[in-house]
Amino acid sequence: MVQALSIQKLNKTYQKGNVLNEVSFSVKKGEIVSVMGASGAGKSTLLQCIAGIESCTAVQLELDQQDISNWSAKKRPIVLMFQDSLLFPHMTVLENVTYGLRVRRYNKQEREREGLYYLKKVDMVEHANRYPHQCSGGEQQRIALARALITKPSLLLLDEPFARLDESLRRMMRTWVKGVLKEEGVTALFVTHDREEAMLMGDRIFVMARGTVLSSGKPAELTESPENLEVANLIGEGIVLENRTFISAANLSVVLHKAQLPESAYYIQEGTVTHCFRRHGQVFLGLQLFTDKQDVILPAAGELKVGANVWVWAEESALQPLNGGCSSFSDDPKPAFVGENEI
């Protein structure tokens, strides 16, 4: 697949110090990449640097094989969508959506035709002559998306666009926006601090911390086999043992009684049910492990009472060493976290 965006050693320095350190990655055409990280990781600054709103230095900053490092924000075929919809309050919805075309000197008929087409795409055509303050938060974000798409950008940058929406609307918007972006074949970078959102939106995920990309990969790769401790803590689904080893939740099983533990169980921990919930028909247990003092959410066959004791186990092959540490079992025949009755 053709590369759309290619970045090599991008740096951004403020007076207080480096915000972005040698960021390097590439994004393929039509790909949606989630950029995930905690607050202050440099995600938003990265988007603003790519959009050209913030200045930065980079060995390479190419979009569609063209060096855009010296292009102004106005010239870059990139649209950035902020956390707030930032609709212009003095313009109608249609005027907002067609603003990018107005800048490009399209005539009124063309603007209106295109504007209505994109408003139809985002199911907002009946709002064309309203003003932004007459629309709800979710509607405003849909209008903002139409305004971004109408200019047919080579790259769309989305900076936590659903952060201000309530949970149920956010969940609905994720799937819907992804559908629209895929339909339009838009290359997009989607910034979020929400793990679930990152996994749902992105074909791939970049995990950021301290101004650099720590790891990248497909959602399942990152959640099940994180490279290092930081990535494991940020996005990994499972438990981290002594900061050196990771066991994916997919490889952990729950039994109610010790006697039910199979012979192949290598990692064994007793824990208690802290909460129990159902999603899409599947029961999940929130567990707290006694010795490791870790919380983990695991699928279960049926509901259990809060406070019930359970046993969690995994086979030896499920233990993955994290980078920067070593496998806990290479030099210690009796690891500390293995249950008291070794199998």
Binding site: G52, L80, F88, Y99, V103, T151
Partner: protein, 266 residues
Amino acid sequence: MKQEAAQHKLLLLALSSCFVIPVLLLFLQSIAGEWRFPHLLPSSFSYYGWESIFQDASLVSALWTTWSLTLTVILLNLLLAFPAAKQLAFSSFRGKEMIETVLFLPIFIPALALAMGLHLTLLRIGLASTFWGVVLIHMLPTLPYTIRIVRAGFERLGSQQESQAQTLGASQVHVFFHITLPQLLPSVRAAIFLVTVISLSQYALTTMIGGGEVVTLALLYFPFAESASTQVMAAFSILFALLPLTFLFLIEGLIRLCLPYRVSKI
């Protein structure tokens, strides 16, 4: 709902009687021939007041000078205040506090004290007793307010809308006329009104720097107040009060003509 609407109407009536009735009385006074206590209305009418102020040749020229002076001061104020206010609102740089203080000093230090010093400088550079000298001195008590008002407008607006427009492909000029200015109109209106009122009422500064060569309405107002009849004073006061309104209508008309969006919706 109905009760609320009635309350609103009552409030509107009370407020308009506070403002409209005095103005109406002033207007009546300007056209009253004889109006003595205890008559509620004048017993005769005459245009003497209006005739006498318009027959005064110096008044027409003062009117023109005041008008062009105030317009120049307004435009210069806006021209200087926009970039300054934007920088103060959005940028952080070394010495920002010092610049802010310097910009607001004319409000804290008596303008007359500053004008004394400036008079010497203006004499040296040949601007004393000229139109531009007076324009410059009128900037002193007006610019700090304009910067303050426009800065508050920028802070309310935030910088993200501008960034958003830029990523949609807009140039700085396009952003200014299509995004920033339409949304800063309330601030612009407030600034224009304040600048007009301050500039119109400058008597001491205009006398000192204008040196009697630049005669504005304020300079004529005081001799009139001493000598002329109440009719003339009333007519003069109305004329004086109408001036800020003409600027407001002029600028408002220009804005509505030039801006591509229905500004009343802001």
